[in-house]
Symmetry: C2
Subunit: 248 residues, 2 copies
């Protein structure tokens, strides 16, 4: 049986200036990715773009045209992995071929689809091996100065303003009561609106951290109370992906 | 002002066979670490051992003897970072020198001390930059097949048997109610005891994942229901660090 490798990708996907791959991936991850020909991915086009970058630094075992890419179905993108039976995607591994799992940016199956494929591998007795690479949530958490010994990632907050405020208050109450850092994300074009709500809603003693443009040249990490944010005039933009965290 | 770099270290610390550094760290992380001379660390001895490994693949800006290492005080190791004022440790950065923060294994300030140093940097207006490297919790989560879009890391579970069983039941109830994967750890010499309790206490439909020896040659990732664990006779040992996760 083949092994299912979980292959992390750079966080600069879709950016104008993409840095060299060996800035963000260990050599072992690059070499392993270059040796694979069978993939499960979110999007075949961006998976090919990633493999092209890999090929520039390590010879691919098969040309881009010969790479076998299977996309996760649309329903998984929209509704998440729960309940999706991914076993049929792993047919190559059952035939003895090693496979790779890719997400759009960062570690597959974390803050992204892919868990159903990993679960299916365990069910079928296929060995799973995660490779090392960037995980945006952990770069943001480490840079936040918030509690890293007890934390939760809760996904997206609601976009509707009243629900968003309500959700933030609930996350803050949990963080203050338990000391557990609460990490969340938003689609970039709502960054400014989310930040406004956070600064309106959070209590004076709560610490808010945001990391913008992780691993990019223009990367910024801010962390402080709402008063710190206002005094320092820290700002986000609506183009760059950000990770938010709150805690005591 | 200098920048505070958060420098991840390999997970094989203390192991008999340590692999090459470029297997686990991107070139940019290695080069950046080699360019630093001022450090805050958990333990100076292991920090020097890490710098020696860095020096074998990239020329150090200063010899091991010339490296300036400040240890986090014992109280932070024992009681955690909360309430510790780390500003005095950052004096070199205030004088314009770049600094590095190191933990014993993996990403500093995640499942390890260091958050107080990052917080102090933000307070002093010192820029913080996390570097890319292994994060054991995320390798384990990705390999678990459990929900990676909503998860929590809750640290250590109690070692006293009755309290441990009670805590596991509470974590399971939370995971089943909310769908939030619950990740936890134990000191290695209690791995077997913790696994016994988990298999006794967890409900039939709950999924238990454990990753043992992350990034090592002998690394294993198991994931399944209690019945799967018993049927497959998956076992942990009391020597190798493990990460545990439960979820629906």
């Amino acid at each position: 049986m083949g092994t299912l490798y979980l292959v992390p990708t750079p966080l600069d996907f879709g950016c104008d200036s993409q840095g060299p791959l060996d800035e963000v991936l260990p050599q072992a991850t690059i070499v392993r990715a270059a040796a694979l020909q069978h993939w499960v991915c979110e999007n075949a086009k961006s998976a090919r773009a990633f493999l092209k970058r890999i090929g520039e630094v390590s010879p691919l075992c098969a040309s881009i045209q010969e790479q076998q890419l299977q996309e996760l179905p649309r329903e998984v993108h929209k509704k998440g992995d729960t309940g999706f039976d991914a076993r049929s995607l792993l047919a190559p591994a059952l035939q003895g071929l090693d496979m790779g799992l890719l997400s759009e940016a960062g570690m597959p199956a974390i803050a992204d689809p892919g868990a159903s494929v990993v679960r299916a591998a365990h069910t079928l007795g296929i060995e799973v091996q995660p490779l090392i690479g960037p995980v945006s949530l952990m770069l943001a958490l480490a840079a936040s100065g918030l509690n890293g010994q007890n934390f939760a990632f809760v996904g997206y907050v609601p976009s509707e303003p009243a629900l968003r405020a309500q959700r933030i208050k609930a996350l803050e109450a949990l963080a203050l009561k338990t000391g557990q850092t609460q990490i969340f994300i938003e689609t970039p074009y709502r960054n400014e609106a989310l930040l406004r709500t956070l600064l309106e809603v959070l209590q004076a003693g709560t610490r808010l951290a945001a990391s913008m443009g992780l691993t990019l040249e223009k990367c910024r990490h801010y962390s402080g109370t709402p008063a710190d944010w206002k005094r320092e005039r820290w700002a986000l933009n609506n183009q760059t992906p950000a990770v938010f965290a709150i805690g005591p």
